[in-house]
Symmetry: D2
Subunit: 132 residues, 4 copies
Amino acid sequence: MASHRTELRVRYADTDQGGVVYNSNYLVFFEVGRTEMMRALGVPYAQLEIEGTIMPIVEAHVNYMAPARYDDLLIIESDVIEVARVRLKIETKVIHAETGQLLAQGWVWLAAIDKMGKLKRLPEALVVAIGK
Amino acid sequence: MASHRTELRVRYADTDQGGVVYNSNYLVFFEVGRTEMMRALGVPYAQLEIEGTIMPIVEAHVNYMAPARYDDLLIIESDVIEVARVRLKIETKVIHAETGQLLAQGWVWLAAIDKMGKLKRLPEALVVAIGK
Amino acid sequence: MASHRTELRVRYADTDQGGVVYNSNYLVFFEVGRTEMMRALGVPYAQLEIEGTIMPIVEAHVNYMAPARYDDLLIIESDVIEVARVRLKIETKVIHAETGQLLAQGWVWLAAIDKMGKLKRLPEALVVAIGK
Amino acid sequence: MASHRTELRVRYADTDQGGVVYNSNYLVFFEVGRTEMMRALGVPYAQLEIEGTIMPIVEAHVNYMAPARYDDLLIIESDVIEVARVRLKIETKVIHAETGQLLAQGWVWLAAIDKMGKLKRLPEALVVAIGK
């Protein structure tokens, strides 16, 4: 299934007083990864929302192996690992670009809902693009 | 004009690797201050939005005197210092609750717009409450 | 084992363009919950860090059941559910204060490390306070 | 004096329920701009900190002209506009990459301090690089 890599630079704003990236920011990194994957698939998430599909996270999991630090260049690797009728599971790895070390790994389940918040089928264009 | 004090505890997430609160977070503290001031005035901002008035910041200024640190209890003091037809200026002081030291001080201009983004008069209820 | 409830008000800064709290912010809410639990236990986390124990998250999990929204008053319920030699598992529930609805639930594993990043035993004072 | 342009993509996490980028995030965009400017000048900020110079913001100003929105590609233009013995003023423009519209403009004063928090001269390498 679909897989994608994008790069991201750690900002000072991402760090905390422990001198490392604060734990919740990895979920933002996951967002950047899947957004760029969807763009690369030809189905930008911004376009999906305009067309009436919102995809909130319904479950998230993160394993933190080693800290990312200020100004580190990170590789965000996203992989679609499961596709169901109304939801999608994406695994994400956060890798230190210079050393290749795996810093964090996790996954999210995204559901497809309409503007009223009702579950709906994943957009056909997205399912087709993922399957290619 | 209207004046209000509220308290806020610095979170680990607010800090950066310098061991102090990251600069942009003071604008979030300002938000907390003016939100609680408006609630105390009987005109909660959430209610204004429901009734069709959005109040984005059009200009912001912050002077950083001394750093706030993790777990500090802060006093956020908000003062309405100018009221115009379609906008409002609020000054905010960030004070260390224990020592009384002034850590930061700034102000924002908020404009009133409707859901189309068009400028509109400040809600009457808000103007009246501020003037009391 | 130790259990604690604290309250928290959703900020405008916490929301996203979907009109609900952005997914990563729940991990910040979890932080607020466990910080206040540790303070209530008489072992403030800020004090632990001063004494040389840092407690980074090594694993996190969140189930999002229903969205929290701007200005919602939330109850953050924290429960220590497992204590090991060098780590601690805390479950957190995010509850809508007015309706009592469970909005999100998750847990984190926190490890104890020293300033060099080496694993160390959980501070004795913390273990004792939790066991009470 | 030194001038630099870098690009940045608006994240979903940057937006608020008004459907636009939340006000404090522009200060984070300013950080990204000046960080990339310093890297381009051959004096990466991460390196300055390692060598003992921390550069906190002591004053910040932002004018918000038009909202940046989710997934917008932004140009962050940074210009050093004043250099003093212990501080530096940087102006930043946030421009919509596609339309060329100026969305926000502001400036920050950065001070140079040592690890004890004492003011110190700007690093010579930085002053030389800026003056070129």
